[in-house]
């Protein structure tokens, strides 16, 4: 059975804050985005998830969805799965198979892989994957400066032309002290040794990507687009270059400058962006990364352009800027 992504969906919050706002309010900004997406006070990862899923499901028969997988590092409840909320909001079949993935920014590709597996267990034609994330911390934590918000959704189908899944390769292992949050705490912690964090990212992602390419008997040059996990743009770009990717291959899949760090969504939103211009026959590679948990690299080949690849560009252009004081109000920090 061939499994393909046949439809995509995107949601970006309308509110944005420019990096310049941080510079004028705090005198510095630890992240190198141009601007980032900010959830409104009545938004959370579930409202963003519903919007992205509706975008992906437009024009499809929702009663044929047999699988729903969800991912986020920032679900609104620590105990209570949110699949039921989505089933009701989207009007999905009540017998849908569900799984929810969290705790790490690697959760997005985990949800996609889980959907590929669960699709074998349903008589239905489609699986819906929804990845929605808004990493959160108190504003006094440096890492918070880069935290944005976004959601994307994909419909996977059995034996239909689209973006065919070709394979996956993973690298997993223990790395201590990078980006973690204790139960009941709102702040993200990190031992704060940048060189150590970069080394882990480089080793994990490189192993997953090169492993995948060799498993499929390809070269990196065979890929039109290579989308990296972008916790910060510089580290991702430097590693891509070191692995031998050209700027042309990585440029279109970069989203960090416009959204900031969007956690589990990072490379999957990049995938939505490249799908807007990808052509039949193009090979696409995406790699995820979760601090302390490794990397997963996935390979796809576009058989036929998607009728609906999601409204990335429209969402990107629909924006309203806020200042730093309003930003703190949105975050209920003041």
């Amino acid at each position: 059975m061939t499994k393909s992504i046949i439809s995509g969906g995107v949601y970006l919050p309308t509110l944005r804050i420019k990096r310049d706002e941080y510079l004028s309010a705090l005198g510095s900004c630890s992240a190198a985005m141009r601007e980032k997406t900010v959830m409104d006070i009545d938004e959370d990862v579930i409202t963003m998830a519903v919007a992205a899923a509706r975008d992906a499901l437009a024009d499809l028969d929702v009663s044929r969805v047999g699988v729903l997988t969800l991912a986020s590092t920032n679900f609104p409840y620590q105990e209570k799965a949110l699949a039921g909320t989505l089933v009701e909001a989207l009007g999905l079949d009540k017998h849908v198979l569900t799984s929810q993935h969290g705790n790490s920014t690697i959760a997005g590709t985990e949800a996609l892989l889980a959907a590929l597996g669960l699709l074998e267990q349903t008589e239905q034609q489609y699986a819906l994957v929804v990845v929605s994330d808004a990493p959160t911390s108190g504003p006094d934590v440096d890492m918070e400066h880069g935290f944005g918000a976004a959601a994307c959704a994909f419909v996977l189908a059995k034996d239909e032309p689209g973006l065919a899944f070709e394979g996956v390769y993973a690298q997993s292992g223990e790395t201590m002290g990078l980006r973690y949050r204790l139960p009941g705490e709102t702040d993200i912690r990190d031992i704060g040794v940048k060189a150590f964090a970069t080394l882990d990212y480089n080793e994990m992602v490189k192993a997953a990507v090169t492993g995948l390419v060799s498993k499929l008997n390809r070269n990196l040059a065979d890929y039109r687009h290579i989308v990296m996990h972008q916790a910060d743009a510089k580290t991702a770009a430097a590693l891509a270059k070191k692995m031998g990717c050209s700027d042309v291959q990585t440029k279109e899949g970069s989203v960090f400058a416009d959204t900031g760090d969007i956690g589990a969504c990072s490379s999957l939103l990049g995938l939505c962006r490249v799908l807007e211009s990808a052509a039949s026959g193009d090979c696409l590679l995406i790699s995820s990364y979760g601090s302390g948990s490794g990397s997963q690299a996935l390979s796809f080949r576009l058989q036929a352009p998607l009728k609906n690849s999601g409204s990335f560009q429209a969402r990107l252009e629909d924006k309203k800027y806020i200042g730093y004081i309003q930003y703190l109000k949105q975050k209920r920090s003041i």
């Binding site: 309308t14 409104d40 006070i41 009545d42 938004e43 959370d44 579930i46 409202t47 519903v50 919007a51 509706r54 609104p76 909320t85 009701e88 909001a89 989207l90 009007g91 309203k320 109000k329 949105q330 209920r332």
Partner: protein
Amino acid sequence: MGAHISIPMYQRAVPQRYRLVGQRCGACGKINFPPKAVCKYCYQGTSFEDVQLSGRGTVYSYTVIAGGGAPPEFAAEARCKGSYPVIIVELAEGPRVIAQMVNPPEEGIAIGMPVKAVFRKIYEEEGVIRYGFKFSPA
């Protein structure tokens, strides 16, 4: 004063609050939203068929709630925004509903402007998030 809605009561209305499920009257064919026991148009129909509404409509009327006028469940939102707009929407299928508006245009809300339903947090009570619909410019 707030209008307390118990969790079981909110729960029963989940299909209408989360995705705008309305009812088509078996007697006169008009669409009731929110669902009613007896059709509000013909006062006779008591059997209905569920219909999924499009979520599209136009602004029939609007008002702006100033910070101090907000009921307690919306106080946090009013504090954040200063004020927030509430609109009556005439849905494409006919019924009129009242809801908040998100991302109102800078030039102000206009009667007749097209809107579409969006899924948002309405408020939180007892630690339980009450999700539902608001409208944004279409």
